[in-house]
Symmetry: C2
Subunit: 604 residues, 2 copies
């Protein structure tokens, strides 16, 4: 499997050269190869790290080599004992002023680098994160460019131990990637291989902070997380495309009069579970587009030294990364279950889609840790209310906090829930009231940290409420724009309403507890939701066809565009290597003796 991945990566690279693809086109090509490979990290993490953290003269050395793939790189941050807490990393880089070198070392077992993709076998170099020890003082963690494997024969350089960390979840998924382990035994590297954009160590062994604003690095984080949100929409739309199409093919029960059974998609049971996932894929698509805009906006502001929107943008992308990846992982598994037994076959495409996706909940910030960041930001926002500090971005609605704490929804009949203003106000009121209540509860605690720890459950729910408000409001905003195509806008309007009312029903406890809506209004929302499902149903297939995936890319027999599922599922079985022979290997050794055994007495 691994060799085959190397083959694909090499072939992809050949095409990139031959076709003279741009960086973005090359990235698209790799995206459609749709198999994890060491090149993902080389392009997606290593090059951005050099660009972001390297001094310009060093970039001139390393970037051309990387762009020509004359070296292969990984991003070696995570350690066996240290993940989320980067400041807790144990690998050391001790400066030796005599030789003008850093000495890379792995002082403990837990300091072994562990997980970096491409590290195990393919990489020649790594950006290795290590604690800088200069003149006996610890200057915290920084990146270093370290050569790992020889250019002669690809063997590890002296003092370096490197290997693959072994089998991972699933039968494909990350098993095509050589996630690796790396240990240093006093390995020397030139001083200038430290990435020095943020701080430098001089020839004399002096530690100097640069005047580059640290905020600049948050810009990169916004970028990476925006990509993750876009991928969430991509993964969930693939899953719902498969589940929706197969729901129209599969028939079970129904029809008393010996006609064909009922299409599964016509059951409300199926619609109730499937449609919220379809609309969520749409919602994440739009919030992903908006995040792309946000990144551009933040970047322009940073270039003009305007950091005012950065904390809000940072919190908001952290929260959306957490929300979208968690729900997408669950959605894929739910889609698999909605295909009933056949979803368990690899040929359904869903098992691997799930397994390859779930790490998104952990990497680039654990989803729980990220929600805590959002909550901290919300608490700060609440504490500054009335201080005259301007509220920006997604917290702007908190400027109307007095109103939001008191307002009563004017929904009186089910159709009133179709009004964007009614939806928005309910979501804003719920989020604002939860934020204010939780800030108040924390203020009663002996310390803010204790409050955070003690009230964790509230903290997380508040952060989620805020993030859901963002997604709902961006969906609504999208629909204020002109949308080409006859009737498209009307359909999207239905999806937007389903998304909002589905969330409202799912979290009705919070909407009720905060008084954002009344019992009667909650019940009306459920009524309206049923009407909306019925409206969405005739177009369900068109809605997933609109994602425009080819059968080849979708890789699912159940999700075929032509619906010709069973005639293709059946021959697929014969591709199983176990079917190469009629009688299985092991029959003569294990089965036959059992069958032919003449047992007089069995106690059974």
């Amino acid at each position: 499997m691994y060799k085959n991945t190397l083959r694909k990566a090499a072939h992809t690279w050949k095409r990139i050269i031959k076709l003279r693809l741009s960086e973005q086109e090359a990235s698209m090509l790799r995206f459609y190869v749709d198999e994890l490979a060491f090149t993902d990290l080389h392009w997606g993490m290593f090059i951005p790290a050099i660009k972001g953290q390297g001094m310009e003269q060093r970039q001139q050395k390393w970037l051309p080599l990387a762009y020509k793939m004359q070296l292969i790189r990984c991003y070696a941050q995570t350690e066996l004992g240290h993940g989320s807490n980067v400041q807790g990393l144990e690998t050391t880089a001790t400066f030796d002023p005599k030789s003008d070198e850093f000495i890379m070392n792995s002082p403990t077992l837990t300091s072994s680098k562990w997980w970096p993709g491409g590290l195990g076998k393919a990489s020649t170099h790594g950006v290795v994160y290590a604690r800088r020890l200069v003149d006996g003082k610890d200057h915290g963690v920084n990146g270093f460019i370290v050569q790992l494997q020889s250019f002669d024969d690809h063997s590890p350089l002296p003092g370096i131990t490197v290997a693959d960390i072994g089998m991972k979840f699933g039968n494909g998924a990350y098993n095509t990637m050589d996630n690796g382990v790396l240990r240093f035994d006093h390995v020397r590297i030139p001083r200038d291989q430290m990435l020095m954009r943020v701080s430098q160590v001089t020839r004399e062994g002096k530690y100097v902070q640069s005047d580059v604003p640290r905020q600049l690095f948050y810009g990169t984080m916004v970028y990476v997380r925006q990509t993750i949100v876009a991928n969430a929409s991509c993964a969930s739309s693939r899953a719902v495309c498969i589940a929706t199409r197969y729901s129209a093919v599969r028939r079970q029960f129904g029809s008393q009069d010996d006609g064909p059974e009922t299409q599964v998609i016509d059951y409300k049971t199926q619609q109730n579970k499937l449609f919220p996932l379809v609309v969520t894929a749409y919602a994440y698509r739009f919030v992903g587009e908006w995040l792309k805009w946000l990144y551009t906006d933040v970047t322009q502001r940073l270039q003009a030294n305007d950091f005012s929107t950065l904390p809000e943008a940072h919190a908001c992308t952290a929260g959306l990364k957490s929300l979208t990846t968690s729900t997408t992982a669950d959605a894929i598994e739910e889609c698999r279950k909605l295909c009933s037994g056949h979803g368990y076959l690899c040929s359904s495409g869903l098992p691997e889609l799930f397994v390859v996706y779930v790490p998104a909940c952990t990497y680039e910030g654990d989803n729980v840790v990220l929600l805590l960041q959002v909550a901290r930001f919300l608490m700060k926002t609440v504490s500054q209310l009335g201080s005259g500090k301007q509220l920006v971005g997604t917290t702007a609605c908190m400027g109307r906090v007095e109103h939001l704490l008191q307002c009563c929804s004017d929904v009186q009949q089910a159709e009133d829930w179709l009004k964007p203003t009614a939806i928005l106000e309910a979501f804003e009121a719920r989020a604002a009231r939860m934020s204010v209540a939780y800030a108040r509860n924390i203020s009663k605690m002996p310390s803010q940290e204790e409050g955070f720890a003690e009230l964790f459950s509230d903290v997380v729910e508040t952060a989620v409420a805020h993030c859901q408000l963002i997604v709902v409001s961006k969906f609504i905003e999208k629909l204020k724009q002109g949308i080409p195509g006859k009737g498209v806008k009307e359909q999207l309007q239905i999806l937007c309403n389903i998304y909002a009312l589905f969330l409202l029903h799912k979290h009705q406890g919070e909407f009720l507890a905060t008084g954002a809506i009344t019992l009667k209004q909650a019940s009306l929302a459920s009524d309206q939701l049923r009407v909306l499902y019925a409206q969405a149903c005739p177009n369900a297939i068109a809605l997933v066809d609109a994602f425009n995936y080819t059968d080849h890319y979708l890789g699912s027999v159940l999700g075929r565009y032509d619906g010709n599922v069973y005639p293709n599922l059946y021959p697929k079985a014969w591709e199983e290597p176990l079917n190469d022979t009629v009688v299985p290997d092991g029959y003569h050794e294990y089965i036959r003796p059992m069958l032919k055994q003449q047992l007089r007495t069995v106690r059974l």
Copy 2:
């Protein structure tokens, strides 16, 4: 992999013979082998089917052969196009009175048998479910014993096509099982190989119903589902054991003063997610024990021709099967995420535990379909209220429905939530009010079926509320008994309260919407829950150690009893075959040319 499974099965069988194990002991041995094999179906499905549905004289022929494993059987019910709806099966068994034979045939592609475990390669025989066509009339679906493979060389008999259906989810899991596909091209079998306990076809081609009450077969269903609930507790307790132990080993963040980082288990964030899963494993253990009692009770009654408790027992086991398997599948995946990145390694044991478990949500009754059955039963119960019909089993509390519709919880401070009566009343009130409300809403619909379809969301929530009430009340009942061991009962009391209050918080929308509790009481429950988590924390490890799993059975480096995780995770990596060579296969072919390529210009 498959051959290795055959090897294990043959070895297990040798031990069973050698040690003269009883049927139950043999079943325990297979349980601890802990790898799916064709023998599971032979013993778990085929033999019970013969026992339950075969005539006694036929049992005397087949059972000894099966018990001595002189034939290997599978249970061939599910078809490519037909799962949950057994009455929709398409395989035909046409009686030919001339030869006194049935002709087995697969008239369509979708009638191909698909999924039966052990069918693909190992089985010599199958119990095949097919429509009986007698004298041109369709008498519905029944089981037939059909020989599939030759005793000479294990090749398929004439007219029979049999094969494995191919790769399934995960890298182990059900891939050790030869789930198979089977097609018949007019295969003749003797008439007496039809299982005739329920109805017979005579030599003359007459169809005759037997006088065996059909209810008897529900007894088997209660048995099978009780086993599934017990397995849910087993699977979830394995997962929480791994996650809890590793949470005590893993450290992240914390400690300002350069001491070691904080144990993850000390974070409320972790406790909030982990502890509900631990207590759920306990709760399912107890409800599983109770179901075992229920099965005995039902069996005794059936023998005395007392069918009065059967509908309730049937609904209740259906609901508990659905509830426990759904939550357990989610719990295993949640435990994996709670182990952060390392949970994604196969050596954590969690990926395969998940993959091997999830089919439980689909087999033996799809979980959604089962909840609909519960809901139907509840609606019937509500419709009979006041009719004088006696309410039995878990619906007995509906006898106090007048009270439950009006009562107000008397909880006034957080500690009041520790009273079993307060908990029970809240859960009873919520379940009863939801049942009554939903019966009322359905009665407003044009027809009951339409109401069912239209109000699906309510239907499912009502069924879940009823099932949760059962689990909570059985936990409380358990604690009324004497429990040996100093302080054990007190600890279990804490777990019981956590279970109930966790559910109450999670579903607070329903408790509030039904008026079963007030806003203030919901908030007090959350307060009390936090106190309970703090009380449970010091004993968390002891609570999972109490499941008494050996390291060997647990199969998880992260979940080791001695907590010596990292020193064992590290060497485990070296078992990866990719590490057999330092330079990977494919380097010279694919990596080296890329590195050595002299590119003049790259557009990138």
